[in-house]
């Protein structure tokens, strides 16, 4: 079933799996509150936005690109939901997702048509999206229909809607990236863009697909965030940009592209959520938490760089 390069990529996700498992075991041993249904439900709820935005980032990274605008796209999504959900009802959902995809396509257009370095182009998109969001919603507010909340977050259970949505998104991407020609083209392009072009891959199409998908998924993450806070917030998404990169790297995705699997990213996002929960439940010093996260990040870097292909 797992054959070819897929197998090699899955191997890269094992360290993140191990880390997530270790944190789970450690916290459940030290805190009786950990394994309660309510806490597990909370964890699933927190995993949803982080997991989705990390997935968005991972897809872009597979193609050897990076998207530093995912966080501001999340903020934009919360703004659109907060302004639109009461008047437009369900129509606000597709509107939000379309806006996210459009942001991604804007980045791709700059990369393709104007040949701007993808990192810089995504920074430019981030600035513009942030500006637009602040125009729409200068300060936190608006209102998201409670109906959405009831649907997604009301039930506090491990296997509630948040976890199922997150797993479904990952499963779908796992299938598309591992078993479709487009997925193979994305990996090939990230692995060596020139070689992929010579073999008939259209770089423009890859950019459109990965940035468009990332924009859409980031908007989805923002959408759930807005439901969770029942409002919009023009700055709420920003910290997620860095977190999405951290989760992807921790999950074994190579910055140079072409390597890693979404499975690793899911485990890594879970591990990041668990670290915070562990510190709070065990009542550990909050300063230590920042240091622990830093150490995990640097540790992952060192670990993956040792096994990395590039020498220089």
């Amino acid at each position: 079933m797992f054959d070819g390069s897929l197998r090699a990529n899955l191997v890269l996700s094992l360290p993140a799996l191990a880390l997530a498992a270790l944190l789970t075991i450690l916290t459940s041993l030290l805190s009786p509150a950990f394994l309660t249904e309510a806490n597990l439900g909370n964890l699933a709820t927190r995993l949803l936005p982080l997991g989705l935005v990390a997935l968005a980032q991972a897809i872009v990274l597979f193609a050897g690109r990076i998207d530093l605008s995912v966080g501001t796209i999340m903020s934009l999504a919360t703004a659109i939901m907060a302004l639109g959900s009461l008047n437009l009802g369900w129509a606000a959902v597709p509107l939000t997702l379309v806006a996210g995809v459009a942001c991604g396509l804007f980045t791709a257009a700059g990369v393709i048509l104007l040949r701007i370095n993808p990192l810089v182009m995504s920074l430019a998109t981030a600035a513009i999206v942030k500006g637009v969001t602040l125009l729409l919603l200068p300060s936190p507010g608006g209102e998201v229909d409670y109906v959405f909340y009831e649907l997604v977050f009301e039930r506090e259970a491990l296997f509630g809607p948040p976890l199922l949505i997150c797993l479904a998104a990952y499963a779908l991407m796992f299938l598309l990236l591992g078993w479709s020609r487009m997925g193979r083209a994305i990996y090939a392009f990230g692995s060596d863009a020139k070689a992929a072009f010579a073999n008939g891959v259209s770089g423009a199409r890859v950019d459109l697909v990965v940035y468009g998908a990332a924009g859409g998924i980031a908007a989805l993450a923002g959408l759930f965030l807005s439901i969770r806070i029942l409002s919009g917030d023009p700055l709420i998404g920003e910290p997620y940009t860095l977190d999405s990169v951290s989760a992807a790297i921790l999950g074994g995705v190579a910055l140079q592209g072409g390597r890693g699997s979404v499975a690793g990213v899911l485990f890594a996002a879970l591990a990041l959520v668990l670290v915070n929960n562990m510190f709070n439940l065990l009542g550990l010093d909050t300063n230590l938490q920042a240091i622990a996260k830093g150490l995990i990040f640097v540790g992952a870097l060192v670990f993956f760089m040792r096994t990395s292909k590039s020498e220089a």
Binding site: A126, G131, P138, L301
Partner: protein, 317 residues
């Protein structure tokens, strides 16, 4: 004796000329919108842009090496806290204060260099991790509220004008740019850095101590970021956590507006200076026009897109 080779090294590049065009356009806008804008005011703007300008030089140097330094903002912020703490408001401490601040800066650069060279972590991530470590360290060390202050007499570095016509900080900025130019274009060390940046493996095989060159570049970068932080401190007179965080992204934007390439091999101090001024004047323009911050972000993004699109379209032809 022909001077041609020397002049050739210093010829302003097309990128710098484009940046100059953009700057003139912004200045014209500023003039029209504020009704009054003198050369004096331009110099005054340059005076205040000097910290960013020097940090952009740091970024441009690392971009020349084909890498990225995401810790320049954090490093400048570190300099701000260390300087204020060790000055403790007393000019008598100037020796220790400056020495300590520079040592911290060099240590950051050394650590960056070692992470990149020894542990082979991509510079992008190594310096990102470094900036997180600095931010965490400062919070732990200061408990959120740094103490100390910069004595007023030190603040002449950024407040003072030579004979009332030339600000000190502009002189410092120009001097740093000039020295870097000489380093890169006229010295063996600079050439070795350039070659190491362009192809580390080839440089090593040709007997260049390229690991050392990369470390040196990161140390220079952090040193410049520290210098930027010192100038910034002289402007503010006090310590603030995260004061220079926005400088990281701004330095990248300014450097690429000024013609720096991600693929490395290019060093344009003039372009870098113009890039810094463009961002600064843009900000001024927004203040004067009383535009909301939303406009600032949109214009910043748009300027980056336009500047790079112009550069790339030129290249096509």
């Amino acid at each position: 004796m022909s001077l041609a080779p020397f002049i050739a090294q210093l010829r302003p590049s097309a990128a710098s000329l484009r940046a100059l065009g953009l700057l003139v356009l912004l200045l014209a806008l500023l003039l029209v919108s504020s009704g009054a804008f003198s050369g004096q005011q331009l110099l005054d703007n340059a005076r205040q842009a000097a910290p960013l300008g020097i940090i952009v030089l740091a970024q441009a140097l690392i971009l020349m090496m084909g890498r990225l330094d995401l810790s320049v903002g954090a490093t400048a912020g570190l300099a701000n806290v260390v300087l204020a703490t060790s000055f403790a408001g007393d000019m008598a401490n100037i020796g220790t204060a400056l020495a300590l601040t520079l040592i911290f800066g060099l240590a950051v650069g050394l650590a960056n260099g070692l992470l990149v060279v020894v542990l082979r972590i991509p510079a992008f991530l190594a310096t990102l991790a470094m900036s997180l470590i600095i931010a965490g360290g400062l919070l732990v060390f200061t408990g959120g509220s740094p103490r100390g202050s910069i004595p007023a007499s030190f603040r002449v570095v950024t407040e003072g004008w030579i004979a009332g016509v030339l600000p000190w900080s502009v002189v410092v900025w120009a001097l740093v740019a000039g020295l870097l130019s000489v380093l890169v274009h006229f010295t063996m060390t600079g050439r070795r850095m350039l070659l190491s940046g362009a192809n580390m493996r080839a440089a090593r095989l040709n007997g260049i101590a390229s690991d050392r060159m990369v470390i040196l570049a990161f140390m220079l970068s952090s040193l410049l970021a520290t210098l930027g932080g010192i100038l910034l401190s002289a402007i503010t007179g006090m310590a603030t956590i995260g004061i220079a965080d926005s400088y990281t992204v701004d330095s990248i934007a300014a450097a690429v507006i000024g013609g720096a390439l991600f693929s490395g091999g290019v060093f344009l101090p003039l372009g870098a200076a113009l890039g810094a001024l463009i961002l600064f004047i843009l900000q001024s323009l927004l203040y004067v026009l009383s535009l909301p911050p939303a406009a600032k972000f949109i214009m910043q993004g748009a300027i980056i897109v336009v500047a790079l699109a112009l550069a790339n379209l030129k290249k096509e032809r």
